[in-house]
């Protein structure tokens, strides 16, 4: 079976490239699963989403992806993230700390959009690292 060529890039660096059997990402319309020979798609990703790249024998790659796009054409999948972090690179203690701080400021001020964004991001990082949120 054909494989997908996947690239996860952020403005500051290339985070991961490689081959995969399936990519699951979360767009603003809902989760989208891409398998080889998928029709060309260009989607907007949600803030604080979790990206899963299924690699068959190589195990799954999980990354926290904050905003950005997914573009699929000719078995090339590009994830253009504003910021992204591989699950294995996440500093769990720090992410937990950030989540707690963000939740505290949401409780103090329900309208705090910035804190909501922080909370979403921290939660995505924790989920990518395999933690329960």
């Amino acid at each position: 079976m054909a494989k997908l060529r996947v690239g996860v890039v952020s403005p500051e660096r290339e985070i991961w490239t490689g081959e995969a059997d399936m990519v699951i990402a979360k767009t603003v319309d809902g989760e989208i699963g891409i398998m080889p020979n998928h029709a060309p798609v260009l989607g907007v990703l949600v803030e604080g989403g979790v990206l899963r790249v299924k690699r068959g024998d190589g195990g799954d790659l999980v990354a926290a992806v904050h905003g950005g796009f997914i573009s699929v054409a000719d078995n090339d999948v590009s994830i253009l993230a504003e910021a992204a972090e591989l699950g294995s690179e996440v500093d769990v203690a720090r992410a937990k700390d950030a989540l707690q701080r963000a939740q505290a400021s949401i409780e103090a001020d329900q309208e705090d959009a910035d804190a909501r964004l922080q909370a979403k991001r921290a939660a995505a990082r924790l989920r990518a690292a395999g933690e329960e949120v």
């Binding site: 890039v9 952020s10 660096r13 603003v28 798609v41 260009l42 989607g43 907007v44 253009l80």
Partner: protein, 299 residues
């Protein structure tokens, strides 16, 4: 010790310490160019992909009338983003940018536009302040090591101004493009209304027909600002690399000049020292002769 000798010694000492400083600056700049180049390299994949995505959307939607791509029929104001450095010691780096910015301003005024400067870098800020020119955006503190957040902030301000009713109708950017260690050119570009720069190789055949999630318009809405951010980020990165390259070159020639000065002064100092010794000897000989003559006269 003669006065001239003392003076020369003092000058050599001061030139030597200057040379030490410029040499250190040169070495620092050299090491930072490498880092800046690596950052430029690291940003390439994202730029390539986002350009690809934008051209994909534009080729799939027949009539694009997104506010960011439509040129106003009668533009009245133009914003100019000028990217300068925070620190000097970089030869003609900032002077070149500001000269080009002035030329662009002249050109825009010639077209009947009002020019609103947006300035990055402390050098550009002081230049504008000194001339009492109003600035509509001011950023500093990151010229030698810009982050994507900086680019986002600048792009955000520019896009807001562009979308506003009484804002700006065109946005131009003046920055220094990094070609190589030895060559950096000032680049003047229009970034809004948007002209998508195609990748070097045009895609073969018919571009694939994309599905959009949620819709083409929504994708474009969030894609175009990202594209502009990425263009500005690229300009900031290139400017940073150019700044370090310009500084390295300026500091190298300063060090060379200092070493040349030291050589000349050392020569002059040796001459002065020799002249002094010669004079002392002739004084001693003259004195001895006079004594000898006096003694001979007595006898």
């Amino acid at each position: 010790m003669g006065a001239q000798l003392r003076l020369l010694r003092r000058r050599i000492k001061s030139v030597k310490s200057t040379a030490k400083i410029t040499r250190a600056q040169e070495l620092i700049a050299s090491s930072r160019i490498v880092k800046a180049q690596q950052r430029m390299q690291a940003a390439v994949p994202y730029e390539r992909e986002i350009t690809h995505a934008v051209s994909a959307v534009l080729s799939n939607t027949t009539n694009v009338d997104h506010p960011l791509t439509v040129a106003k029929e009668q533009p009245a104001t133009a914003g100019v983003l000028i990217v300068t450095s925070d620190r000097g010691f970089a030869g003609g780096y900032n002077a070149n940018i500001l000269r080009e910015a002035e030329a662009l301003k002249g050109h825009l005024v010639g077209r009947g536009l009002t020019v609103k400067p947006y300035v990055v870098g402390r050098k550009g800020l002081t230049w504008h302040r000194f001339r009492g020119r109003e600035m509509f955006g001011e950023w500093d503190g990151f010229s030698d090591n810009p982050s994507y957040g900086n680019a986002k902030e600048i792009a955000g301000a520019l896009i807001t101004a562009f979308k506003a009713e009484d804002g700006i109708d065109e946005i131009h950017i003046v920055y220094t493009g990094f070609v190589s260690m030895l060559t950096q050119n000032v680049i003047v570009k229009r970034i809004l209304p948007l002209e998508v720069e195609e990748a070097e190789t045009p895609p073969e055949g018919i571009p694939p027909y994309y599905e959009f999630e949620p819709t083409a318009g929504d994708v474009l809405d969030s894609l175009l600002p990202r594209y502009i951010e990425s263009r500005i980020y690229n300009a900031l990165l290139q400017s940073a690399a150019s700044e370090h390259a310009a500084r390295r070159r300026a500091m190298k020639s300063a060090t060379d000049n200092a070493n040349e000065l030291i050589r000349v002064f050392t020569q002059q100092m040796n001459q002065a020292r020799q002249a002094e010794i010669t004079q002392e000897i002739s004084e001693i000989v003259g004195g001895a002769n006079a004594l000898a003559d006096a003694a001979a006269g007595k006898e």
